[in-house]
Symmetry: C2
Subunit: 254 residues, 2 copies
């Protein structure tokens, strides 16, 4: 927009999408390097949030989409009685804020679980760029669609699984995302509280606590406060679908 600002951008953007370690996981995935430079112009800046810091809250006007650059966040909805449902936990490379597209207001809240840094994509600019770069448009749709599918997974987990399977699936899911981030997928650091986990799974905190203990007794995990070592990934994977056979008699609903 402002030519002067553009020059500055080029300096600032040295460490931007084009060179970001997350570019293969984030919006740029599958985008050519020239188009990538265009995308860079849509990234306003990086925000930093401390633990508990709020990125957006319910009712906030829609201004931007956000990419987690480092750290982690939770998103949740809260009804008039104050009752909370955690919708998801978000690791680097993941994009949040889509809930506001429908009504131009956020209908959920995003909160940092630890010190986190965020890339902000002002929607007006992003829209302009996507209209110029069809590949980016497609990619954006793909990312939203992934969000829809992720929620399907969440729904299946809550609706059909036993508590123990739910926790196993949750941990396995985290481990898989660690792997995509090139982290050691057997050494998880749970930035969220037990309350958050329980709420996310539709359980109470006592149940989650007991399940961690049980999985430890079974030799699947070693748990120490927020750090979880997956000693037996094979067993964990096994637990993700045991008992499903029993539940399968509800099959072919209708």
């Amino acid at each position: 927009m402002d030519p002067e600002a553009n020059v500055l951008d080029l300096n600032q953007l040295r460490r931007s999408c084009s060179s970001c370690a997350l570019s293969e996981l984030c919006l740029p995935a599958g985008i050519g390097s020239d188009d990538l430079e265009r995308l860079d112009t849509a990234v306003r800046d990086k925000r930093t949030l401390d633990r508990g810091g709020v990125l957006y809250r319910d009712g906030d006007p829609f201004e931007a989409l956000y990419v987690v650059r480092s750290g982690s966040l939770k998103t949740f909805v809260q009804d008039e009685t104050g009752d909370v449902q955690v919708l998801g936990f978000h690791l680097p490379g993941e994009i949040i804020g889509f809930d506001a597209l429908a009504s131009n207001r956020h209908v959920s809240q995003a909160e940092a679980l630890e010190r986190s840094s965020i890339c902000e994509l002002p929607y007006a600019r992003l829209q302009q760029v996507t209209s110029e770069v069809p590949a980016l448009h497609r990619q954006l749709m793909r990312v939203i669609s992934r969000e829809v599918i992720e929620e399907h997974r969440h729904l299946v987990m809550m609706g059909r699984q036993q508590a123990q399977e739910q926790l196993a699936i949750f941990l396995k899911g985290l481990a898989d995302r660690y792997q995509r981030l090139q982290r050691d997928s057997t050494a998880l650091t749970l930035s969220m509280s037990r309350y958050d986990i329980a709420n996310y799974l539709g359980l109470v905190v006592e149940t989650v606590s007991r399940l961690f203990s049980r999985l430890e007794e079974m030799g699947v995990l070693e748990v120490n406060r927020k750090s979880v070592r997956i000693c037996r990934p094979d067993l964990l994977a096994e637990l993700c679908r045991s008992n499903t056979a029993a539940a399968a008699k509800q099959r072919d609903a209708g």
Copy 2:
């Protein structure tokens, strides 16, 4: 916009978006009449499905988005063990098929609950039109976002509510959608089976059956097979949030 053109459109496009009774609920909502004509060119044709007919199944290549024109469908995922989770029920004006945007394959199945007719929007064509009509692009994003929000509602319902509240919310939701369709919102016709309802809510049929009976005893409903009369909409609304107070102690998760 141009009143003259409107008259012409109505003649030319008798059976198309421009004259469709659903246009205010469907993709065209908020689109000018000239752009609407463009949208019409993206609608391939109408398909008709009988009860049990499959619109798309898990693994099918992504070809189109679909608008329910009449009748109703359910969407669901099915895991390798055959275990099903119903994701939603879809009434006229609602758009389905977004799950395939991520990977160009559907990851769920859509099945007619009764004889239904469907508008097919081939995605290649739709994409071309949306790239020419920014308003339509926005509208499409808005519709997907609504899908995300709808799934939030589903998640909250499954995660936090008692069985009776769940059923109340389900029925209230249906009634609200009936109202948008200008139908009598106190006389529901449940095109889905009790199994489908139970599965959707994460319950078993017996529980759903008992709850219908209980709500009937309470004077809230009159139930006769698939037809449900809501005698006391006020009570039904009340039931949607009672007991939430008790659950609210899990508040502020974390």
